[in-house]
Symmetry: D2
Subunit: 416 residues, 4 copies
Amino acid sequence: MAKEYWINDIDQAAMGADSIAMSESRMPVLNKLNTRFTNEQPLAGITIGACLHVTPETAVLVRTLKAGGAKVVLCGSNPLSTQDDVAAALVKDGFNVYAWKGNDAEYYDCLRLTLAQSPDIVIDDGADLIVTAHTEAKNLVQNMIGSQEETTTGVKRLRVMEQEGALKTPVIAVNDASIKMMFDNRYGTGQGVVSAIKALNVLFAGKSVIVAGYGWCSKGLAMRAKGLGANVVITEIDPLKALEAVMDGYRVMPMAQAAKIGDLFVTITGDINVIRKEHFENMKSGAIVANSGHFNVEIDIPALQKLAAKTRKEVRQFVDEYTLPNGHKIFILADGRLINLAAAEGHPASVMDMSFATQALSTEFALKEKKDAGVYSVPKEIEDYISKLKLETMGIKIDELTEEQKEYLSSWEMGT
Amino acid sequence: MAKEYWINDIDQAAMGADSIAMSESRMPVLNKLNTRFTNEQPLAGITIGACLHVTPETAVLVRTLKAGGAKVVLCGSNPLSTQDDVAAALVKDGFNVYAWKGNDAEYYDCLRLTLAQSPDIVIDDGADLIVTAHTEAKNLVQNMIGSQEETTTGVKRLRVMEQEGALKTPVIAVNDASIKMMFDNRYGTGQGVVSAIKALNVLFAGKSVIVAGYGWCSKGLAMRAKGLGANVVITEIDPLKALEAVMDGYRVMPMAQAAKIGDLFVTITGDINVIRKEHFENMKSGAIVANSGHFNVEIDIPALQKLAAKTRKEVRQFVDEYTLPNGHKIFILADGRLINLAAAEGHPASVMDMSFATQALSTEFALKEKKDAGVYSVPKEIEDYISKLKLETMGIKIDELTEEQKEYLSSWEMGT
Amino acid sequence: MAKEYWINDIDQAAMGADSIAMSESRMPVLNKLNTRFTNEQPLAGITIGACLHVTPETAVLVRTLKAGGAKVVLCGSNPLSTQDDVAAALVKDGFNVYAWKGNDAEYYDCLRLTLAQSPDIVIDDGADLIVTAHTEAKNLVQNMIGSQEETTTGVKRLRVMEQEGALKTPVIAVNDASIKMMFDNRYGTGQGVVSAIKALNVLFAGKSVIVAGYGWCSKGLAMRAKGLGANVVITEIDPLKALEAVMDGYRVMPMAQAAKIGDLFVTITGDINVIRKEHFENMKSGAIVANSGHFNVEIDIPALQKLAAKTRKEVRQFVDEYTLPNGHKIFILADGRLINLAAAEGHPASVMDMSFATQALSTEFALKEKKDAGVYSVPKEIEDYISKLKLETMGIKIDELTEEQKEYLSSWEMGT
Amino acid sequence: MAKEYWINDIDQAAMGADSIAMSESRMPVLNKLNTRFTNEQPLAGITIGACLHVTPETAVLVRTLKAGGAKVVLCGSNPLSTQDDVAAALVKDGFNVYAWKGNDAEYYDCLRLTLAQSPDIVIDDGADLIVTAHTEAKNLVQNMIGSQEETTTGVKRLRVMEQEGALKTPVIAVNDASIKMMFDNRYGTGQGVVSAIKALNVLFAGKSVIVAGYGWCSKGLAMRAKGLGANVVITEIDPLKALEAVMDGYRVMPMAQAAKIGDLFVTITGDINVIRKEHFENMKSGAIVANSGHFNVEIDIPALQKLAAKTRKEVRQFVDEYTLPNGHKIFILADGRLINLAAAEGHPASVMDMSFATQALSTEFALKEKKDAGVYSVPKEIEDYISKLKLETMGIKIDELTEEQKEYLSSWEMGT
């Protein structure tokens, strides 16, 4: 099963290289890290297995890791999200890449090929690679220095493993860093989803948009949909998040009720079957249903197919029309896969700059401070360091504490 | 020069038909008009020459006009905006269509082919067809029942003609109807531009976005860019509009100053050379420049080419990179053509539903009440009628005046 | 009935002078006009009768008119809106003032005292003074040079008079100027209402706020309530305005339905009995009901009193609690009088600067160009002039048309 | 020094009782707790010393604590924030109250009177009472069951004490609960500040508003100022917060630069001398400067007084005008004390409902689970419990996890 690479079309490499160059020009923090890594070689001699969406931004990350001395092996973290030209360009650059758009059948084989290279560190997006390592490559896991996880969904899986004592490697929860969640999850996802949906030519102004979930990603989406003029409704199962949504000016109601009024539904919850048979049956004709959660389990498409399989019709790329027995038409986008990656190009380079800088620095940190198995936070210093670099590259200056202010902050005696 | 049609590829008709069907399902007001027109045949026996962006929404309009009894001849109103599959589907439907994407050289020939069919009524988008009729087909103009104009730019041209005594036909300024400007110009353009630009994977959050102009279209864009998290700056030449922009919370400054701070520039002014040599020379490296005004004259691309012609490089579709002598890179989108139509699909069906219902009803009105040459408003009754239909199709009920309220509104004696 | 003044307490003059000074410092456009008027004396020899809310900003206006050579007589335009200290300061300045806070009984006598001074020009706010002149002082009306109206409600009354042939004097509809409506009606009212209500310590975040009407004032309120985190619902009787509200992202429904879900209701419609018995009966307990329309007729308080008169209890200043037979408590603010003036100080000086500059310049204009009876618009030049002055005083520069641009705008031949 | 109470005017008790009743009707969660506490008597026999802003909402809290069986002694947590009528009403109810508006000189004496009652638990707002207990009543501190802190500033002081080993009692950081920060700090403060400032008749639309700090409170203020149409600029010393502000669409710059462009400045940082001499000297004439941080140290008023002490003039209540040597006028609000409490009534009841429910339940929790000295978080169960109650009282239903969903969330094997 040893292969140097397994991609769709090596001839697309030149196009991919152009794409990567454009993203690179919009990722100044990674560029600065690249320069430092080139000089300092902090990753010299290690092998990194990365399971990520194969996009131009990921290419800029893996090049930075390579600049630091690492060998990087890359597989896709979603069957639909690989950009084939980028994969080709990376192969030309000498990376082992196992990924192509539309890889449903051999998805896990690509993960296995990655693990076969015995990575010292695994960078994951959804935890498929880490989980596979635990189930199929137990020896490898014992010897790994560590791993890093990019998504809310993946961190949730790994925390369950930790609680059950099944986790055998240290994991840095890159996803949970503020600098990742606030920008990538919130603003990256928010804009990505509305853009992907808009690309299907849906006007947001005046529409009732139902967002399932009110975590960072869904908050970003709700904010952007509102910013485009939609009337947004939130569904939640957590009372504190539900209350926050109310106070943020949204309506909150159970999905059973929201199903009846929505023009557009988007799930971003990390849970299964959030939109189900009974919801489909109550939707208005013309309703559009999409998912932006990591896995395509949030919309119960099998249930819809039971209701209306024969009526399925692809009306344009990424848009399937189903006609229910009641005559209502329902449009499912991108088969329920995360819409912003499936039907668009994923997050903008300028936001991935921060998330992937966090990945690169977390790898460096993992090598310096080895840990026991468990889920760890990104150190605050890494977040501050990236924030400073990012502001600097934007030409933005901020205040510094005066001596008097520092002293005041470290005292407690002075009151009213 | 007689041709039944002149399009790119008749074999794309099936795909175009699917697209049209999808738009049709999102244009309920036009569907209702279609039914009435079919029954009443108000346009029986007339020929309509339409110069419009050849999109699925336009297809739904021309089908409605045909349902009312008219013969419709269609040419494109912009060299880049034609969707070839839609053009093919319309030819299959029996329309005379003269349009294809990328028609620079024979653009005016297509207009001439349209006029050659002796239209009784002309529906225009930018006034190219009406102006051409005035300059090349004077006899035809004398005999035309009337015409209709869809854009701010076109209405401006026609008003100048009227002032100079050059206008020889009545024109209904469909563009100026509130129901058109508030929704199509403001929200259609606003969302369209941000989507087209986002499709190029630019994050709006945290970016300085410079919008040239503060009319309906630019207001919509400013609002949407702000809604996506950008920091928006407005440039204007009209003091009242500038003041409104300030009060709306935007910064206002001359372009010479804005040029230095913008990450993204969009012109929507209806004027020429709004971004010029001296502005390019002061831009930050990486600046992105686009136009959403009707004509591609707002950005002085010839000046940029003088500065940096040899460096031009297409880095992805619709994105040209220029490197100035100072080393700064500037990205021009879609050659300065209106970005929302060139790089995306134009306005969503649900908003064109209102604009094109206004077109259909204005045609019916023009036949009923013939006018002298001049620019006319859309009657308020048409706007109210469409508003009512639209609300009805959205399932929204509103209040009605009580008898007591009607009486109060028609009185003046009752005060404090 | 001749009196030099009729106010509450002349001893408050010093306090009023301080208030006026503070407003004056925030009205730079009027200050500039004051300087010019002092030099040019454009109003020399005329008498102006002004019926306005007696606030510090009004004081700055009447001083400007006086600086221009006019004699100014002032009465209040609302029983509750007079600031007694300002009235006192103006009397000390030598103005004839007939106004005090809480003047219900002698409200019209104050108007009569104003008319008794035979004004050449009347500046009105709600049209009470103009209507009274028409009904009680017909000779005066015949000889008046003109009049000016500040409110939507007043302009509506005067247009009805014009249609019925009852209007005997030219009126400049100052209210309808863009520079007045966009800023004073929209942003002045918007902020004023939310502030007045907030002063009663109501949190907007998470509340359902029902706004009756979607004109300029109500749009401003809706925008501000949304900006403070409320979930806003609009009721309307005009389909086009209703549709605009939908597209702006609000829910739209009849009041009968909104009554059941609102936490806070505000009427700004210009019509009578917009909230009625059947609405009160369906409200949630704790609902707060206020009006910001010009007259206190929009809430049917007599109907509420029939339902629950005995339970009325003033729970704090400007807040009356009523307990309905169903046990629900309803809170009426400021007796249904326009809340932003009754419970707060009216519009900020910086916004009245533009509206009152329009008044001052309209008076100058009326003297120069005498007109027949009828309702007239403010000339566009006045709006542009004020906009320029305002921008200048804010230190904001804007672009100017190049020669090439001017020429382009005045041409029609150049197209695609 | 033993006194039963020390307040301004016992005769205002009736007015205070009305105020409290109105707030009570808007605090349904505390009402529900009151009922349960009355039945269960969880606080029987303990004495609580509370140092809080003496407002109607605080009255509802202390009544709830009393209903649970506690004896409550109350002093003010700020010299300017006491509402004298509420203090009087509480004395009538039998509480020991030591507080009045304007208590600068005997502020600490009131704290001492509170400690003299030997509280078992201390509820603090700014940490003055806890710190005073540590410095002046060491025996008491040793025996206290615990304490609770309401503010960011207070928690910061207590954490410094903890780090230095000076903290001798367990403290529950009520401030840090999400249910407190998200609503009270963010939306309470946000609306409170804009309302207090607006009450001084300042229009936000079009103004440059400089917010110092980007924590929860300042975020709320920035959002609300933007929601009212202002152009908001943030200053920060933390790079991550600064970056978040940029991504949220605000401009970020050092205060030295912001000083030159601001129309309105508000500090909410928790630090000293954030606006200093060099900033005052560069402000535009007419600039307004306010503080909403807990202590009045954020604006360096002594420095301003050195510059311009003789020119100080109170132009209206809470507004002092200073004229600098350069002729510029600067307006300081409420002497730099937290503006929303000094010049307005503090946070709305509906938001304090959640914060004070957290206080009440934290007290109950502290009695159940005794801890060592240190700073502790509010248990997540308390937050969820309050969220559920609050949603319930708002009539809002949310989804519940299905069995299938629960199982999915507790698994990690299922991936792509």
